[in-house]
Amino acid sequence: MSVLSRKTKSPEGTKELGRDLSQQLKPGSVVALSGSLGSGKTVLVQGICSGLGVEKAVTSPTFVIINEYPGRLNESSVWVYHFDLYRLEDVEEFINLGYEEYFYGKGITLIEWAEKVREFLPKSRFEINLKIISENEREIIVGEF
């Protein structure tokens, strides 16, 4: 287990951190993001996706819950699954989404509002918490379990 804390000064900085993080991911990696509304979860996901060579526009999947993007990792193609659980109130609904196929497959799974489904997250995962320091500054804590 390792934990590191970084401060970013702009959305661009948060994106850059996402690009750095993407280099540590492997097929099957799960990244759990938590933090309040506007703390930069989607921005960080955009950075990770950019690092994974996703060319599609990465937007907030709040209404559709899951977006899927084709990406690239070490010269081979990889699916990136982008969950946004903002609207989820009941874990029953999450179970019905068929989450196991995403979490335990060969793709890379990025989950916003992951705290809502903590008990379903795989033991081996990246845990990222974002905090608002000021208008543009964010504290981002990254744990690898």
Binding site: P11, S36, L37, G38, S39, T42, V43, A57, T59, S60, T62, F63, V64, I65, N67, Y86, R87, L88, E89, D90, E92, E93, N96, L97, I132, E135
Partner: protein, 335 residues
């Protein structure tokens, strides 16, 4: 031509019978109020509700129109974009009905349906025109060169406009759906109370970004005491709405100028926003642009707009086959 429309892309089960693409014989929309409780749409609940309601809703659409299935000359159904589980219910139902009754089938893009809501309500509008499609899931600027001929000029890079409305309404505790709640609250609020940021992006871009605005409101609210929030809730709502409307109007009008179009039309749930309509009208008037928008019932998700778009294609002998599948991120494409 009598067309039966079916729409189940999100949380509304809708069916409608439209004659010749312009006369609405019935327009049944069953809204899943169950989501109120959750402050948003829950996909699995949505698709289970669609299964329950699809048959009664289609039957009601036929009954209200006073027509039988034998008279229906075509079935138009939304194939995407939307929630895949929800889309599949309407799509599978439409395919089965088409196959068993031998009625021609056409799959319609939900965004194109919203654009057609304008042609349905105002049959005299003729393209070219610029359309702003703005709803809970979409914020797009589309140049409509002709019916069926589209150019995507811009879209959101993060949150859709309606999504920002919903999230801000939740931060302000104004209820769900957030769009109408903020619209109502804003009429009594001071839109100049606070100048929230307007994300205009690059000078030439027609893309939107509403995530920063949402963040600005969340941070602003977090700094207020409960008393201050209570006192200024409607002012914050009005100031937020003004920021969204400013950007939508500015980009829409600039898109018209770029394309040399003299018409701008609104579509999608957010097109029902009163301040947006008012501001667009007054800005467009200065430039002698014509403004159109559908009545509120045709702005939000409905099947009449799908039937209208379906009539356009079916009357031109276009058909979908039974391999038609649901496409959650279906892009708007030209015929």
């Amino acid at each position: 031509m009598l067309i039966l429309g079916i729409e189940t892309s999100c949380d509304e089960t809708a069916s409608s019978v439209v004659e010749d693409g312009s006369r609405i014989l019935s327009n049944v929309v069953y809204s899943q109020i169950v989501h109120n409780r959750y402050g948003g749409v829950v996909p699995e609940l949505a698709s289970r509700e669609h299964i329950r309601s699809i048959v009664p809703v289609v039957r009601a659409a036929l009954d209200e129109a006073g027509v039988s299935l034998e008279q229906i000359e075509g079935i138009a159904v939304t194939y995407g974009p939307g929630l895949v589980g929800s889309l599949l219910i309407g799509l599978s139902f439409a395919k089965a009905l088409s196959f068993s009754r031998g009625i021609p089938l056409i799959g319609i893009n939900h965004i194109e349906g919203h654009i057609f809501a304008n042609f349905l309500e105002h049959p005299d509008i003729s393209p070219p025109l610029v359309c702003l499609v703005i709803s809970g899931g979409h914020s797009t600027v589309v140049y409509v060169a002709d019916k069926g001929q589209y150019e995507l000029m811009g879209q959101t890079r993060d949150d859709a406009a309606g999504e920002a409305f919903d999230k801000v309404a939740k931060v302000l505790n104004l209820g769900y759906p957030g769009g109408p709640a903020i619209d109502r609250a804003s009429t009594r609020g001071d839109a100049d109370f606070f100048k929230f940021p307007r994300a205009r992006l690059e000078a030439e871009s027609f893309d939107f970004s509403f995530s920063g605005l949402k963040t600005a409101v969340a941070i602003f609210v977090s700094k207020l005491s409960e008393e201050e929030l209570k006192k200024h809730r409607i002012d914050i709502a009005a100031s937020f709405q003004e920021a969204v409307v400013d950007v939508l109007v500015e980009k829409g009008i600039r898109a018209c100028q770029k394309k040399n179009s003299d018409k701008i039309v609104l579509a999608g749930g957010v097109a029902g926003n009163r301040r947006l309509r008012e501001k667009l009208r007054s800005e467009a008037e200065k430039l002698k642009l014509q403004v159109f928008y559908p009545s509120p019932v045709l702005c939000t998700d409905n099947a009449a707009m799908i039937a209208a778009a379906g009539e356009f294609y079916l009357s031109r002998k276009k058909r979908s086959d039974l391999a038609l599948n649901a496409v959650p991120y279906a892009p708007l494409s030209s015929a």
